[in-house]
Amino acid sequence: MRLVIFILKRALHSIFVLLGLSVVIFAISRVLPGDPARMAVGARAPQWVVDNLRAQMHLDEPLYVQYGYWLIDALQGKFGISLVTRREVAEDIKEFFPATFELALFAGILMGGLGILLGTISARHKDKWIDNVVRVLSYLGVVTPAFVFAIIFMLVFGYWLKWLPTIGRLSEGLTRPPVITGLMTIDALLAGDLVVFWDALKHIVLPAIALAMGGLAQEARITRATMSDNLTKDYIAAERALGIPERVIMGKYLLKPSLIPTISILGLDFAGTLSSAFLVELIFNWPGISRYGINAMLRKDLNAIAAVILVLGVVFIVVNIIVDIVVAYLDPRIRLSAERSE
């Protein structure tokens, strides 16, 4: 019950943040020098067409009224026509978003799984050579931008070793499975087409790892730090004294409390992949929402820019709420302090 109140409060706050974000996005799309109506119809259209469109787009009215109209449309998913694809922006988003989501999902799994594993190994063998190797690698992982990893992986595993494909989601000649979830690998599995599944999986590995590296390194560092900190706690000594097997101590009593900071950061990093995806998708020619967004930005396609940022903002905020809930569930102290502050 109290957890429900905690979640509601959190959600209410997020709605406020989203409204604020929509103001910022609206402001950005109106900062552009030039007339959106003129930009939409092109330089050669006669003036009366532009004037008609201006009235239709409510551009003659005060800014706050314009914002009202824009917000109402946006809430209904109407972002207007994209100047680049000449289609409804909402359609484009529906088409491109799943590809990015699939990529981020794989990256998230890699970050969490490998990050925690490496961190645990590192903490278990603290100050041994393996710990030092993991620490140096994770430091390099944190400071190297995702697009540098993308280029290096592409070069080494794609071109030199030729292990993995480097472009797109699927090889030429393969038909994509019927769209159910929009996630290529899952759709292929649902269609029972293992050849396509395997091919899609091979395509996603390089971009997903490039995206995951930064977060993976971060997770490893944090897991190592919390674990080696918790290892010195009295309760661990007590469990050892009681003769509980080391494996059980490590896997059960030490891991759970040590994962709390990791999970908070993992959420942030997962959402952060949506932003690094902007460059990684460009490099791997991955047909996702970020590549779409970049093309929109380079062509000043305002409707599409606004929609992309808003969608990513919503995802970011939802992920953060989920992380807060998971952490509150894992950590009784946070749950209790939320209750006490009621």
Partner: protein, 314 residues
């Protein structure tokens, strides 16, 4: 008191002077010198911090004296030499040459200039307003001032900085100046939040309460009592942020919204070079490594400073 102090000073300074002959100011100066010496000792004990400092100093040196230390300074501009185009790394061109025959080593070193400029300008634009807003919001915690300022920062922190910075840079004219503006607009909330947290703790300390009691002005309390206690964390964050700002800047120039050709931007060089993979791999890889080295340097330095300042406070 002075006697004890004098002994302490003469012992540490290694000079036999009588306690009374040292002025208070001289004593302060000596103790400051002592502190710096001790801090440097502690800092230099960690080889990683020293490596970070060395990397940063080297890059700053290379950037400032780029026209004198690079082998082909005229390659930083719109120079072409098609006979020597696309040469792999060799003794004459250590990092190879690009598609129109320019030395990549030269261009990477010149690229450091705008990268550093980006970091410095953004931090200079971002830190004062961020710190001020954080101070005010933290001091008036729980009032409407706090609510307004911190809710606005929440909005900016709700989206990864790169996304909004890209969006802002995209509606402006693409150049270095505007990309700095775009990143700055996204970066101040981090300082507001950092200082807010510190201030809301400090305002309950006795020294702040006593300043309030004797009727010190708000400006005095904020800037003379609270701010000096926030300096170390701010300083540490600035050192770490230099790396991150440069990274975001190179991301902007990667998509063509930052440094414009023919000026060498590290991100631009990576993006242009990526087209020539895998045959001319050196064209994107060396500028990319340039970005990594710069970010690595500032991170190592920042971590070293943090350890140092944390140890000092403990």
């Amino acid at each position: 008191m002075t006697k004890v102090m004098g002994d302490w000073v003469s012992e540490l300074g290694g000079r036999a002077e009588s306690a009374t002959s040292i002025s208070w100011r001289e004593l302060q100066r000596r103790s400051r010198r002592e502190n710096i010496g001790r801090a440097w000792y502690k800092f230099s004990r960690n080889p990683l911090s020293v490596a970070g400092l060395a990397i940063v100093l080297t890059i700053v040196f290379l950037a400032i004296f780029a026209p004198y230390v690079t082998p082909y300074p005229h390659h930083a501009g719109p120079f072409t030499d098609f006979e020597n185009a696309k040469l792999p790394p060799n003794l004459k061109y250590l990092f190879g040459t690009d598609t129109i025959g320019r030395d990549i080593l030269t261009r990477v070193i010149f690229g450091f200039q705008d990268a550093l400029l980006m970091g410095i300008v953004v931090l200079a634009l971002v830190v004062p307003p961020g710190v001020l807003l954080g101070l005010v919001a933290g001091y008036y915690q729980g009032t409407w001032i706090d609510t307004i300022i911190m809710r606005i920062t929440d909005i900016f922190l709700a989206v990864p900085p790169l996304i909004l910075a890209l969006a802002i840079a995209s509606v402006l004219k693409p150049n270095l100046m505007n990309s700095m503006m775009a990143v700055s607009l996204m970066w101040w909330p981090w300082y507001a939040r950092l200082v807010y947290g510190l201030t809301s703790q400090l305002r309950n300390e006795y020294f702040v309460k006593s300043a309030e009691t004797i009727g010190a002005s708000k400006a005095h309390i904020l800037f003379r009592e609270i701010l000096p206690n926030c300096v170390s964390p701010i300083f540490t964050k600035m050192s770490l942020d230099m790396g991150w700002v440069i990274l975001i800047g190179s991301s902007l120039s990667f998509v063509g919204l930052g440094v414009q050709p023919p000026k060498p931007g590290l991100g631009t060089m990576v993006a242009d070079g990526a087209r020539y993979l895998p045959d001319q791999w050196w064209i994107p890889v060396f500028p990319a490594l340039g970005i990594v080295v710069i970010v690595l340097g500032f991170n190592l330095l920042g971590d070293g400073l943090r350890d140092l300042l944390a140890a000092e406070e403990a």
